[in-house]
Symmetry: C2
């Protein structure tokens, strides 16, 4: 399976996880070129919260994210009214959800999330969807 | 061009219209079979409002909508927290946006929107995006 297909499969898995809660709606944005707009990989939400999520899977111990991707996620979240998150999955680990504040502490040009950072700062799925973690926009 | 392609083109046009306002985010949901969940054709939003929109284009004077589509739109809107709309475009006309209340007044099994109903009850794009038309959820 190509790296891209693996990424899309992982994204779909995460989408199913949200639907399976019965309390969240999750949408994948089309990967096709027709979407030239700054959209996150997933948009999930319920009455109380909306989350814009950029999904990354890696076989390495570090996941890089471009300034452009961070900018897009920020723009989308600000206009739509959503909390921006980067979801990272390292091999043999579950998803870690990081806020942009957690990521921005690393580098100026390209951002990087190490496995260590993800484990230290990231929220697990169960933590992410807890209402007490809802932030005001 | 097939009827399906025409429908998708019309949906994309509407998506662009929302983005061009600079004040709204618009997402198309993937048409592929992977999305077995009850998602509307378009989800658009800003800080104040989220709209779940089912898009229909027709060369006829009547547009039918199934009970299932109405149910899905209602479910999605209730869980995500969005205002449900059906957008209909008849030939040589712009889009008309109808609430489910406007449509529900017609039939029990399959719903129908006539051109006459659309013109009488539907909102135009400019009316839809006006803040004064925001409804509380």
């Amino acid at each position: 399976m190509s790296r891209k297909s693996k990424g899309i499969n992982a994204e779909r898995e995460l989408l199913h996880q949200f639907w399976q809660t019965g309390k969240w709606i999750a949408l994948r944005t089309p990967a096709s070129g027709s979407m030239r707009y700054p959209c996150p990989d997933l948009l999930v939400g319920n009455l109380l919260r909306k989350l814009a999520i950029e999904c990354k899977t890696t076989t390495s111990d570090r996941q890089y994210i471009s300034q452009e991707q961070v900018d897009n996620l920020q723009y989308f979240s600000r206009v739509f009214g959503a909390e921006p998150f980067v979801a990272v999955r390292f091999q043999k680990e579950g998803w870690f959800f990081l806020t942009l504040e957690d990521i921005e502490t690393t580098k100026a040009e390209n951002y990087v999330i190490s496995k260590e950072l993800a484990k230290r700062k990231g929220l697990l799925f169960e933590e992410l969807i807890q209402e007490k973690n809802a932030k005001s926009l």
